[in-house]
């Protein structure tokens, strides 16, 4: 579904990601692991089109999307739930959700999806008129996910969704992510906490200083001594 080939992204002259290639198959959860500064977020931003690659190509459903604007990529069915959630704090919960559907035109469908999101996240329904900045961290992450879903994406890019959340909330969140996958949305998941991510992912890539260091099925990676030592703390 998504294919990244030889991606290099630079901030000025400093490369953040060098020659990264990866593939995400339809219906899978693929995770991108690595320490701070390994280039995970940069990779996601390049896939979304917010950052332009210096070298490399990005294919989505066989189509070369490397030169498309983010808004066109949203239209094609890609959505990014950014790191730190990126909620519009001064807008209401409902306005945030509606913005997720900005690129869609059918009002009825949007209203229908809104109701579905409220079923999936009942707490957002209770707070629909509330200013989003007043939500708790967990609720904001739910809102960010819900907003991403409002775009009706086929491919969702999640950037460190568990960051700063209590373990219990993380578990709830991951159940939701699996639910989203079961509804047919393909997911590329960036995480620092490898343990949880490997628990639900089918496939994983490990980035180190901008390079792909390891990749393979989650089950296989989990059992590698090196991964255990460095990322799983065992």
């Amino acid at each position: 579904m998504l294919k990244v080939e030889g991606l290099t992204v630079k901030y000025g002259v400093i490369p953040a990601v060098v020659n990264v290639s990866l593939e995400v198959r339809e219906g899978q959860i693929v995770t991108l692991l690595g320490a701070n500064g390994a280039g995970k977020t940069t990779t996601l931003k390049a896939v979304m089109g917010v950052l332009r690659p210096a070298v490399g190509k990005i294919f989505y459903r066989g189509q070369d999307i490397t030169s498309l604007s983010p808004s066109l990529r949203v239209r094609l069915g890609i959505a990014l739930v950014p790191e730190g959630r990126g909620i519009f704090n001064r807008l209401t919960v409902e306005e945030n959700l509606l913005l997720g559907a900005y690129s869609r035109s059918s009002r009825e469908e949007i209203v229908k999806d809104l109701e579905e999101i409220y079923l999936l996240f009942p707490r957002l329904a209770e707070r629909r008129k509330q200013i989003a900045g007043t939500l708790s961290g967990g609720e904001q992450q739910m809102l960010a996910l819900g907003r991403g879903l409002m775009a009706r994406p086929q491919l969702m890019l999640l950037d460190e969704p568990s960051l700063g959340l209590a373990p219990l909330v993380v578990r709830e969140l991951y159940t939701l992510i699996e639910k989203i996958r079961d509804q047919g949305v393909t997911i590329l998941l960036v995480e620092q906490s490898a343990l949880v991510a490997l628990g639900i992912a089918d496939y994983a890539y490990v980035l180190e200083s901008g390079n792909v260091k390891l990749f393979g099925e989650s089950e296989v990676l989990k059992s590698l001594d090196e991964v255990k030592r460095v990322y799983l703390g065992g």
């Binding site: 983010p70 808004s71 704090n89 306005e95 775009a151």
Partner: protein
């Protein structure tokens, strides 16, 4: 020597001036909210709007509704041109580059107008139906006053509804809060910014017409101080807040008129100074403006 009748009368004058400041402040506050730009060029729209109406309404004799419609369209078009040729390329660069460009655009327009229409002020004669006098027990006013108040309220209402309810309006607020994230939502940020300029400039051009019709005189440099005062209204009301901009406009208009009305006559020539004194006092008491919220620093 205080009389309530005089106070009421002057308050009404203050509210009318306040309408004009409030309309201008609307356009400035949304632009500031998105681009962090004090848009001096906004003032130039007042001037060109006033002269545009002078020529099509008084010289060419178009009807009032047609003139209003055309001046709104003309202002909007100017806003689009301004954004496209002057600002778009500078986005993402230092904010001061935008600021200097807006000052440059204003200066260009002012000099251009000076050259084209001459440095002499023009008499802006209102047609008879706009100068009908009404006398009530306390108030004396003309039909133009009613026109200004009613049209201002309509514009403010429409603008408010647009920003609060419409899809574009929500997108506009989203872009103002976080441009990067707004882009992720699929919002074409440049289009939203253009629209902001179009709306603000259309309103500013219309305001130029109101100014001329109310005060009877227009000149090539009328937009500068008015524009700056409108920005003072923005700051007094709370930068980036749309209700704040409107409130700031009224506070400023009332304060300006009432202070001339009740201070000894020799202070009248300091009316502009009084406006800025108000700014200083408000900022000392409420640094974020009357309705402003403290802003997180952008990094």
């Amino acid at each position: 020597m205080f009389s309530w009748g005089y106070f009421l009368q002057q308050s009404m004058n203050g509210i009318i001036l306040g309408c004009i400041y409030a309309l201008l402040a609307l356009g400035m506050t949304v632009v500031y909210g998105i681009l962090r730009l004090i848009n001096f060029a906004h003032g130039s729209l007042i001037t060109v709007g006033a002269f545009f109406v002078y020529f099509i309404f008084f010289r060419a004799g178009l009807s009032l509704p047609a003139s209003v419609f055309l001046v709104l369209g003309f202002g909007g078009l100017m806003g689009l041109v301004l954004d496209t040729i002057a600002y778009r390329k500078l986005r993402g660069g230092p904010e001061v580059a935008l600021l200097i460009t807006s000052l440059g655009f204003y200066t260009f327009v002012e000099n251009f107008m000076k050259m084209v229409v001459s440095p002499q002020p023009y008499a802006f004669k209102t047609p008879p139906y706009l100068s009908i006098m009404y006398k009530t027990q306390f108030l004396t006013f003309r039909s133009i006053d009613v026109f200004i108040i009613v049209s201002s309220i309509i514009i403010m209402l429409i603008f408010h509804l647009f920003v609060k309810k419409s899809k574009m309006g929500i997108a506009m607020r989203a872009v103002a809060e976080n441009l990067e994230i707004a882009r992720l939502m699929g919002i074409e940020v440049n289009r939203v910014i253009s629209l902001t300029f179009v709306l603000g400039s259309a309103i500013a051009a219309f305001t130029g017409f109101l100014w001329g019709a109310k005060y009877g005189q227009i000149s090539y440099d009328m937009g500068f101080l008015t524009g700056v005062k409108a920005f003072v209204a923005v700051v007094v009301g709370g930068v980036g807040s749309i209700p704040g901009a409107m409130l700031g406009g009224f506070v400023l208009g009332l304060a300006e008129i009432l202070s001339i009305a009740f201070l000894p006559t020799r202070f009248a020539e300091y009316r502009d100074g009084i406006v800025f004194a108000i700014l200083i006092v408000v900022l000392l008491l409420r640094p974020a403006g009357i309705m402003g919220v403290k802003e997180e620093v952008r990094v």
